[in-house]
């Protein structure tokens, strides 16, 4: 199972608590995880990626094993700890204000 952590507002919107667990067919990539996430929770379509371009929304970042993967190509295979479920794929909202 792939583990995904989404921002609190999106957990409310999707009516989930804590981490989201997804069945994702290999290869495990940012795109395949987000596709599976949106398939399981259609209300999240358009909130993480643009509907048309599938570009990441500007104020969201994707973290993998404590590294920022936001600018990596979406089809790059993710590290083994993500693929095996040892580590979660993090979707994080940028912090605004002071």
């Amino acid at each position: 199972m792939i583990r995904v952590v989404i921002p609190a507002h999106l957990r409310t919107l999707a009516k989930v608590e804590g981490e989201v667990k997804l069945e994702v067919a290999p290869p495990i990539t940012q795109r395949s995880i987000l596709d599976a996430l949106e398939e399981q929770y259609p209300v999240l379509r358009g909130t993480i990626r643009d509907h048309g371009t599938l570009q990441r929304r500007a104020f969201l970042r994707f973290y993998v094993c404590e590294e920022d993967w936001s600018l990596e190509p979406p089809d790059t295979p993710l590290p083994e700890p993500i693929a095996s479920g040892k580590e979660p794929f993090l979707i994080i909202g940028a912090i605004a204000g002071g």
Binding site: E39, G46, H51, A94
Partner: protein, 392 residues
């Protein structure tokens, strides 16, 4: 006995205020969608328990919410599972895609930006939702960057009425300080094919054929802050109101100036009269007296709060020019709030109820046409929108 429901959109959630026909004791429910910007909520005239809401966020974009039980429960129309190949397409209620098809006759790709250059149209949010007068599943959305969309399936999917952006002046539209927003939609109860909209900062527009073709209706508007003060478009119209009892007579609060038109917007003339300042955002019309109108004068250009620290609604019973301050029950010292363009509404009871919300989080109500006011609730987040519904 009749009841009243007031739908309040704020910077951090939505609230629903309810009272019986006396309108002296109120229940406050909410917050709904806590933490999200709620630009606008409005109920269907054809089914008052059908309510549409625009939920938005700088992080997560646009969400459309819908209630079919008067706001007790909500759903995201079109939020169903993604269909398998061959299955009927699912709705996507937060998908607002500008029409670039050849059917429009021309590419509708850019508008004027702050610096005078051309800039691509980019969807940001829904500012205003206007349900059909007759069909609970049909609703219009005014969006930023300015365009008009329509849904005929309860908000599940949206399609642009691209004749508005494509009628010819679109490339001259430029954003106001708050963005290039289509914020006003008025449906004419006497003519289902006639509709009015207004955009900051482009002006007012009208269709007489159900949204296929549009024309600017800004003759008589004069704006000192634009290169040609009498231009066909480019005026920062803040809000327009019309009494359903007198379609064709429109009242406008422009960036500066209060105006009226008695010929469906073809010609406007100023009726600011003896107002202390003719800058403001809201304007509304009494439910039963088409010549009784309300504004809240605001100090500007830079302050954007009420003059002299006094919150006063101004009422004209003569369709403008002669105004009286209404202050009973409103703070008359140390008050520095604004009242935003969609944050005033009237109910249809008798006497007419008038409601408005402030950027300080107060929602005030009057059950006597504005003669006296009480704070229904005082400490909400900044109020973006107020819509009143009279219920049987």
């Amino acid at each position: 006995m009749s009841k009243v429901r007031v739908l309040v959109g704020t910077k951090k959630g939505a609230f629903i205020l309810t009272a019986d026909g006396k309108r002296d004791k109120w229940d406050v429910s909410g917050p709904f969608f806590a933490g999200w910007e709620m630009y606008h909520l409005k109920g269907s005239p054809a089914d008052p328990d059908r309510i549409y809401a625009s939920q938005t966020s700088g992080w997560f974009g646009q969400i459309i919410q819908r209630s079919s039980d008067g706001g007790k429960t909500w759903e995201t129309p079109g939020g169903e599972k993604i269909p398998q190949p061959g299955e009927f397409p699912s709705g996507q209620s937060n998908k607002f895609v500008y029409d670039t098809s050849s059917a429009t006759g021309k590419p509708l790709t850019t508008h004027q930006f702050y610096d005078g250059t051309q800039h691509p149209w980019e969807f940001k949010r829904v500012w205003h939702l206007e349900p059909s007068l007759t069909d609970p599943d049909t609703v219009y959305a005014g969006v930023e960057d300015a365009a008009l969309f329509r849904s005929t399936n309860g908000g599940a999917t949206w399609h642009e009425l691209s004749g508005l952006r494509g009628h010819g002046t679109g490339p001259q539209w430029s954003p106001g300080a708050g963005g290039l927003g289509l914020h006003t939609i008025i449906l004419d109860p006497s003519d289902p094919k006639r509709m009015y909209i207004a955009i900051s900062a482009a002006g007012a527009f009208r269709t007489d054929d159900g949204g296929a073709t549009w024309k600017p209706i800004n003759r008589g508007l004069r704006s000192q802050y634009i290169p040609d003060p009498n231009a066909e478009v480019g005026h920062c119209v803040h809000h327009v109101a019309m009494s359903p009892k007198r379609p064709g007579t429109l009242f406008m609060q422009k960036h500066w100036d209060v105006l009226r038109s008695d010929d469906a917007g073809d010609n406007w003339h100023e009726v600011s009269g003896d107002l202390p300042t003719d800058f403001g955002f809201v304007i509304d019309v009494h439910a039963h007296q088409p010549e009784t109108i309300y504004v809240v004068p605001i100090k500007s250009d830079s302050e954007h709060f009420v003059p002299e620290g006094k919150l006063r609604v101004y009422r004209s019973r003569k369709g403008g020019n002669e105004w009286e301050p209404l202050a009973k029950g409103l703070p008359q010292s140390n008050c520095y709030v604004n009242v935003l363009r969609d944050a005033m509404s009237v109910d249809t009871l008798d006497p007419c109820g008038v409601y408005f919300g402030t950027t300080g989080g107060q929602v005030y109500g009057s059950a006597d046409g504005g003669d006296s006011w009480t704070a229904i609730v005082r400490d909400l987040p900044a109020v973006y929108s107020v819509e009143a519904q009279a219920l049987p």
